[in-house]
C-alpha cells in the first residue's frame, strides 16, 4: 500500500508540483524551440515521454548491473549520455522500419531529444533520489507527461500571441519567456499539493 502511495506522490509531483519545465528548468530548449504549433508540440511531447520512460528503465539496469558492481559510479554521466544517444538512434531506426507513419510524424524531433536535458536530468535524478526500478520508470514517464502538458499548454497560448500587441523589443523569445514565466507562476500553486 505504501508503495502505491509513493508512486502516486511521484506521479503528482512530476506532473504538477515539480513540473520539469516550470519548477526544475529541465528541457527548456525544446520547450521554447518546438512550441510554435500545437501539433508539433504534441509530437515532441509524446516522443520525449517515450524516450524518458525507456531511458529511465535502461539506465537503471545499466547502473545497477554494470556501474555499481564494478565501482564505476564516476562514469555515470558519460555512460548515461551514451545510452540515451544510442537509445534515440535505435528508436529512430526501429520506427523507420516498423511504423513509418509515426516516424514521419516525429521526424526531426527524435534526434533533438538526445540533447534534451530533461532526459539526462530524469536519469540523474533517479540515481540521486535512490529510486528503485518501478519508481524510476514511473518518474520517467510521468516527468515526460508533465513536459507534454507544459509544452501543449504553452504552444496553444503561443499560437494566440500572434495577435497580441506587445513592445517590439519583446518580439520572439522574450515574450515567449514572459508567457512561460506567468505559467510557472500558475504552476507554483500546485506546490502545496500533498497526497495524504
Amino acid at each position: 500500500m505504501d508503495q502505491i502511495f509513493e508512486l502516486l506522490s511521484i506521479t503528482l509531483g512530476a506532473i504538477l508540483a515539480n513540473n520539469f519545465i516550470f519548477s526544475q528548468f529541465l528541457g527548456i530548449c525544446p520547450f521554447l524551440g518546438v512550441s510554435k504549433k500545437v501539433d508539433t508540440a504534441v509530437g515532441m511531447g509524446i516522443a520525449v515521454t517515450f524516450v524518458m520512460g525507456l531511458a529511465s528503465a535502461v539506465c537503471y539496469v545499466v547502473n545497477s548491473l554494470v556501474l555499481i558492481p564494478f565501482e564505476l559510479e564516476y562514469m555515470q554521466t558519460v555512460t548515461f549520455i551514451l545510452v540515451i544517444a544510442s537509445l534515440v538512434q535505435f528508436i529512430e531506426m526501429f520506427l523507420q522500419k516498423s511504423m513509418p507513419s509515426l516516424y514521419t510524424a516525429l521526424g526531426i524531433y527524435l534526434p533533438l531529444i538526445t540533447t534534451n536535458c530533461a532526459v539526462l536530468g530524469v536519469v540523474l535524478l533517479n540515481v540521486q533520489n535512490n529510486y528503485n526500478f518501478i519508481e524510476s520508470v514511473v518518474y520517467g514517464i510521468t516527468g515526460g507527461l508533465g513536459f507534454l502538458l507544459a509544452i501543449v499548454l504553452f504552444a496553444s497560448i503561443r499560437e494566440r500571441l500572434v495577435f497580441a500587441d506587445y513592445p517590439k523589443a519583446f518580439e520572439g523569445f522574450p515574450i515567449a519567456l514572459v508567457t512561460a514565466g506567468l505559467m510557472a507562476l500558475a504552476f507554483m500553486g500546485f506546490s502545496g499539493l500533498k497526497v495524504w
Binding site: 558519460v78 536535458c117 523589443a169 507562476l185
Partner: protein
Amino acid sequence: MDIRRQFKEGLLTQNPVLVQVLGMCSTMAITTSFFNGLGMGVAVIIILTLSNVIISAIRKIIPDKIRIAMFIVVIAGFVTCVDLLIQAFLPDLANSLGVFIPLIVVNCIILGRAEAFCYKNGVAASFFDGIFQGIGYTLVLLVMCIIREFLGAGTFGGGLLNGGDGIQILPSQFPAGMLTMPVGGFLVLACLIATMQWALSKSKNKEESK
C-alpha cells in the same frame, strides 16, 4: 583569425544566451545566488575551452556521420572531470548546483559551438572562441544573479560574502521573494533578451542612417 572580433561576438553581438538563445536551462535554474552563477560560469568556461580545443584538433579524423556522438563523448569526459573536482574541493557549490553540473553535457552552448565553430576552424581560433563565448555566458549569469538576488532577497554576493548570507542591501521586508523562484528566472531573462534586442536594433539603425 581576428581576436577582437571574436571577443565582441562572444560578449555582445553573438552572446550565447542573449542572442543565440542557447543554454537556457542552466541560465534560469542556477542564477539564484552570486556564488552559484560564478561557479557555474567558470565551470562552463573551462569545459567549453577544453572541449573546443580537442574537437577542433581531431576534426579532420572524425567521420561526418558520427560526429555528434564523438562531440558528446569528448564533452562528457571533461564534464565528469570538472564534476569530480568540484565535488572534491567545493562541496557547497556541488550541493547547490546539484544535477546541473553533470547536465553541462547537454548544455546546447558547448555542442552548438562544437558544431558551428570548432568543426570548421583551427585550434587557436577555437580556443579563443571557447574563452570568449564562455565569458559571455558567465556575464549573463552574473547579471541575472545580481538582479534576482537584489530584487528577490535584497542581498548581494550570496554564498560568497558575509559568511554565505550575502550583504543585506534592501531591508528584508521589501524584496519580492517571487524573483528567486522559477518565475523570476523566466521574467528576468525575458527582460534581458528584450533589452539586448532593443540595443542591437538601435545600433543597426544607427549604422544604416550613416
